[in-house]
Symmetry: C2
Subunit: 208 residues, 2 copies
């Protein structure tokens, strides 16, 4: 007799490429989920839309007290996880739209390759200090994801990717996601890389 | 031969009585610190000053998306720690100034009793649903802290407590504290009840 093991639903994971905390989460989320038999559905999010427009807040790095605290949090996280960054997280972020649009388009049209593209973009931007808004590193991320480099050029020239990204961000807001990283597991929302341990406890216990 | 064990410096812990997360932290912080040989210095903070004036933010419960998330966080915390609240944390908070002023005054003039007063105020407001801005519960908190009930009336009639609280909040801001709860351990800042586990790891490892 074989037992039917119900497949547990995947986690939804949102991030913005310009967010160092989104990058940190991207390095852990798949392994964390897999320890509890879960897959992860990666989604693009734009904090410029959610935080600035929908929530009506200032950019957090420019918010008095909070900006300094974020710097401390990032330094502490880097030491704890033995990571380094090739760019100053307190610096002006690059335009995340081209990378976000490509990732959003790949999720729909090349879903098998989308996550590897996102990982390559995160790595290029945060670990190698490359640009987020220029074609060469985006072409390189395409190649790293097993796709033709020229796909970056082709997708960005059309309107589809823009529309898909916009719809994804709208859908994120409709589900209550606003920050980077943001995870929803079985309807329960977890914001911030500092909540990944709590998320893991949630998965291990099956909620509470 | 006796070994000289250096006394470790106390943690600084800030909270606002109107903050449910401040209340949650108040229930754990002393025990958490004691596990690592640390005392805790409790400080008053006013999020109406730090968050609204210094940081220029809206009240978080009224911030789109964040308000709903905070409600989920609170419910999740209550279930995880088997707690209940006697008041709706999404409701309009009461004026925290009288209680804050009394606590600030006690820290200076009756330091042995100040923490017990704060704990009694937190309990009355969050666990019993009593008022924060009326004399009877504040007199009750004085008595619970081993002080004459009438001290509440006497302190609030003068200007000292107002000035002490203002100076305490200014000092908090100068040290980078802005939210409730906020802990500084050996110069390292920890914001939010969700960071208490990280704080404990910090204390256990002696930083990293």
């Amino acid at each position: 007799m074989s037992e039917q093991v119900p497949v547990k639903p995947p986690l939804d994971f949102w991030f913005d490429f310009i967010s160092p905390f989104g990058y940190f989460a991207s390095l852990r989320i798949d392994e964390l989920a897999a320890r509890h038999g879960r897959a992860v559905d990666w989604h693009p999010l734009l904090v410029g839309v959610t935080v600035l427009k929908v929530m009506g807040m200032k950019p957090l790095p420019q918010t008095p007290l909070k900006g300094a605290y974020l710097s401390r949090q990032i330094e502490r996280y880097l030491r704890r996880h033995d990571l380094t960054l090739a760019r100053d997280p307190a610096g002006t972020p690059m335009n995340p739209l081209p990378a976000g649009r490509l990732f959003a388009w790949l999720r729909v049209h090349r879903p098998v390759h989308a996550r590897a593209f996102a990982q390559a973009v995160f790595h290029a931007y945060w670990a190698e200090g490359r640009a987020l808004d220029e074609l060469p590193p985006l072409r390189g991320a395409m190649q790293a994801a097993g796709l033709p480099a020229v796909l970056a050029d082709e997708v960005l020239i059309g309107p589809d990717a823009t529309q898909i990204l916009r719809a994804e961000v709208d859908a994120a807001v409709a589900r209550g996601a606003f920050g980077s990283p943001f995870v929803i597991a079985d309807g329960e929302p977890f914001f911030g890389v500092d909540n990944l341990e709590l998320l893991e406890e949630w998965l291990a216990r099956g909620g509470w």
